[in-house]
Symmetry: C2
Subunit: 540 residues, 2 copies
């Protein structure tokens, strides 16, 4: 539906794949790591070779202009962007696509779509950029008829309140789309999740996405002033206040609602002037434990770095840094208002207290390029390309995934150690070979940190999804057993349900269920995400 | 029930009243202001002269140790600390006291109390420090039988996690009680609402109270890591994470629940090291409008002052500052970690951009006393004594009250002007005399500010409550008409309901109602606060 088509089986646009150089780096690195001579490579699927079940819905004529049953569209809306999604795509397994995909352009059309779903009992899945890594957008296999509503035709910046530094933006706008509209006025949202290029404002709000700020505005939650939500019962617009103490905050009920209470259609979000000052440094530590104590000291000092990313020894190695025992901290302060040298100096003093050696340091004003250069730049480049590497790895039966948590400082050292151990052990048991496990701290708080783990394992082509889950289950069990939340910013979806159900207070689940019943009485919206429909509801 | 008894008719402890000097300052100032020779003074009530309706409940023997029907206790739990509460106390009007007051010491006793209330259909009112200014703790007149549960016997600091800087504190602890227990370890919560001496941690959480921090941790919300809540359906303990992205945040449902979903019994809250560095200044502006633009610039610059209190010309005059046109800004940065001169310097540059003249400036390390001296010190002293002045004013038929809101910067100038005008006009119409209206900005955000208004009017002894409401209704209508929330941190209670009901999205009310039904199916907890019980529930 646009000039460039997104791949239905992987990241980005059709034709946009790894370069020859990237691919040979990938093959050489992982062949050496796993000790294999050559990888068997599965080619990506084509639309034609997929055996797609016929749609079980016929589109009413008044909705024909915004609905489609095109095979490509149904395939592209079958999965998100997790490893099992990638593995199933390469296995040509698209057995549960949505029956129809809709592209509404406004609230009226969404209301018409919901009316249709309600009249017919059609399961409804809100879809933003399709970058969920937790099964947040896939049709439940047992659902009888499924409509996926893709919001990406609603992507305008509608209004900017310059005095209050807030913009009203349609929820289907992806990162570059909204930044492009904000730029002419000198504004930016500066919310940069890894999925930035494709994920949407509405998706961020629905999943409480995490951006690149390591402190303060760590989640989209902190940038949202007001939300418009279309529920089967009608439209909710939360009032625009900079803050309010009037009862439980309505916004906080929609933030993280993952499409089960309604479709987020627009939001007022806090924007900022583009930063003009940057002060940044890269710090080397001989021990990860000391490094994490330094990061804790920074988090508790009230300095609020924009970036405070601590790479463990393996994460460092993977970025071409260190000797396999050292840890590296990337520290950045940024401001549109003032130079930040005193802030950075104090943070570096704290690092030195814990044995941190400053490797490089820069302070600049103006547009600034330092974050694109040196170690930080290399890391950034790898980080941004990661989703493209994923599909090349799946094609070679390399299971690769990330999972993330947040945990108090007191519990962090043990969680880190145990999760690493457990994951490495599970990889060995499941695949018979050692795998890769690395960790970085992405966001830091006075009372704890968000830890982001990556693992890679050489799987068996026929059993990738099963092997993945055996490893991941062990890893996630370790995370929650050691006091971590099941997700700091990847959301719950369908995949994290067992752990979410355990960490969520039982009576809060009842409160959420009661809310769901009030707003979506037929339980048609994204069933299975966050909650299961009541027995006998006939939904799934 | 303690060595010193709290007044049942006013602020603080029995015998703790204004000094002779304070009283003559008060009388002279207001006699001159209102142009009266002498005030008629109503003496405060005594327990003996109140015609108290007999209790309509008999205490079951197994609860006898923690329940009382003592007249003093019933009187002290009849009202909060608003002007109508004060006026009704001076009018000897205690027609709707609770029938019984309970002082549980643990969750088991609270559960036993709730079981009794549920078996008998007794309306249950959670009570902390009794400092509500919005009718949050008074028995509804139509309730047939009322039990008030006072949490102040649960006031221990139970545990401190030093690495994560978090403490587990029982909800009945008032400010000084918890600070005293934190102090030996060098810790502090640094949450200083005006009611600090008496209001409790549980009350703060239930009402989303505002502390003294002007930026970042403006509300108790920002300091809470986890809450224990006892509902009629059982106990809810939210998990301890520094942050989580797993579904809508359960904490945010209890924050601001104002006693309608359960009783908050304990919480893990973020504590800090006592600040060692302070940098502060007082800045004079010739125009309030320019001053508020300077404050906006500071709020949008990412400097995060601890204090950023802007006094309008009348508020300044009331603090002995300025010529009646000038505005004064009190600016403080504080840290336990580092000196803050660069932060303060940049904020003062921004002030200068808007014509602000620095009147005084101090930077210090160590315990620090500057906030207790000079203009800031005078203001602080007046601020802390304000609740005591209130009762002396009520005794003289001076209606005095405060109300507060938060509004986006774009809307602020007009809201400020219109609320001032409307309130002044209402005072004149209702009382036939000019009154006092002043405003200060207490908390600032990138997208707006919290504005705190004070008004005084000379009322008629027999009609104080009615006159108060005529003025206040006009003022609050103006606040919400011009885009302000009905409360930034005073909460909703029963008094703010009409405006809250209008600003709350209708479908959010339904979600809240569904949650209430799930957790308090007989609607016995604090009925009338936030929500009305369903018709035919028989509660009120």
């Amino acid at each position: 539906m646009s000039a460039r088509r997104r791949k239905f089986w992987g990241w980005g646009y059709e034709g946009d794949i790894l370069s020859k150089e990237e691919l040979s780096w990938l093959e050489e690195t992982w062949a050496a790591f796993f000790g294999v001579d050559q990888f068997e490579v599965t080619p990506p699927p084509t639309v034609e070779e997929i055996d797609l079940p016929p749609p079980r819905l016929s589109i009413p004529s008044q909705l024909a202009a915004i609905c489609t049953t095109e095979p490509y569209e149904r395939l592209r809306h079958t999965y998100g962007a997790s490893f099992p999604d990638s593995a199933r795509a390469f296995a040509r397994d698209f057995s549960h696509p949505p029956d129809v995909v809709a592209y509404p352009r406004n609230v009226q059309e969404i209301t018409a779509l919901l009316d249709w779903c309600y009249a017919q009992g059609i399961v409804t899945i809100p879809f933003g950029g399709g970058t969920s890594v937790v099964g947040g957008v896939e049709p439940p296999p047992v659902a009888e008829r499924v409509l996926t509503i893709d919001l990406t035709r609603m992507q305008r910046v509608l209004e900017i309140d310059e005095a209050s530094q807030v913009a009203l933006i349609e929820a289907g706008a992806a990162g570059p789309v909204l930044e492009e509209q904000l730029r002419p006025g000198g504004w930016t949202l500066r919310f940069f999740p890894q999925s930035f290029e494709f994920s949407t404002l509405g998706g961020w709000i629905a999943t409480r996405a995490g951006g690149h700020f390591a402190t303060l505005a760590t989640h989209i939650d902190d940038l949202v002033e007001s939300v418009e939500l279309v529920t089967p019962r009608g439209v909710i617009v939360s009032p625009r206040f900079p803050a309010s103490g009037a009862g439980p905050d309505p916004l906080r009920l929609w933030l993280g609602s993952e499409g089960i209470l309604g479709l987020i259609t627009r939001a007022w979000v806090r924007i900022v002037r583009r930063p003009r000052f940057r002060a940044s440094a890269s710090v080397r530590f001989e021990e990860f434990e000391k490094a994490s104590e330094a990061v804790r000291a920074i988090a508790q000092a009230g300095l609020y770095p924009a970036n405070c990313r601590l790479l463990d020894p393996w994460e460092s190695l993977g970025s071409g840094l260190g000797n396999g025992r050292q840890a590296f901290l990337v520290l950045t302060f940024e401001s549109a208002d003032h130079a930040l040298d005193p802030w950075l100096q104090r943070a570096l003093e704290l690092c030195a207290d814990y044995g941190g050696a400053t490797e490089s340091q820069a302070s600049e004003s103006g547009p600034g390029e330092s974050h694109r250069q040196g170690a930080a730049g290399r890391w950034r480049q790898r980080f941004l390309r990661m989703p493209w590497y994923r599909e090349a790895m799946t094609a070679r039966s390399i299971i690769t995934d990330t999972f993330e948590t947040a945990v108090t400082w007191e519990r962090f050292p043990r969680l880190y150690e145990q999760v690493r151990l457990t994951t490495a052990q599970a990889i060995r048991e499941v695949t018979g070979k050692a795998g890769w496990v690395s960790c970085r701290l992405t966001h830091v708080y006075p009372d704890g940190a968000a830890a982001y783990f990556t693992f890679c394992a050489l799987g068996k082509k026929e059993a990738l999804v099963q092997q993945f889950w055996e490893i991941k289950r062990a890893a996630l069990n370790a995370v929650t057993e050691h006091g971590g939340t099941i997700t700091h910013h990847h959301a719950v979806g369908r995949d994290h349900r067992p752990w979410y159900d355990r960490e969520r207070p039982m009576l809060f689940a009842e409160a959420l269920r009661a809310t769901k019943q009030a707003l979506d009485p037929r339980w048609l919206l994204n069933p299975g995400v966050l909650l299961d429909p009541p027995a006998g509801s006939g939904v799934i």
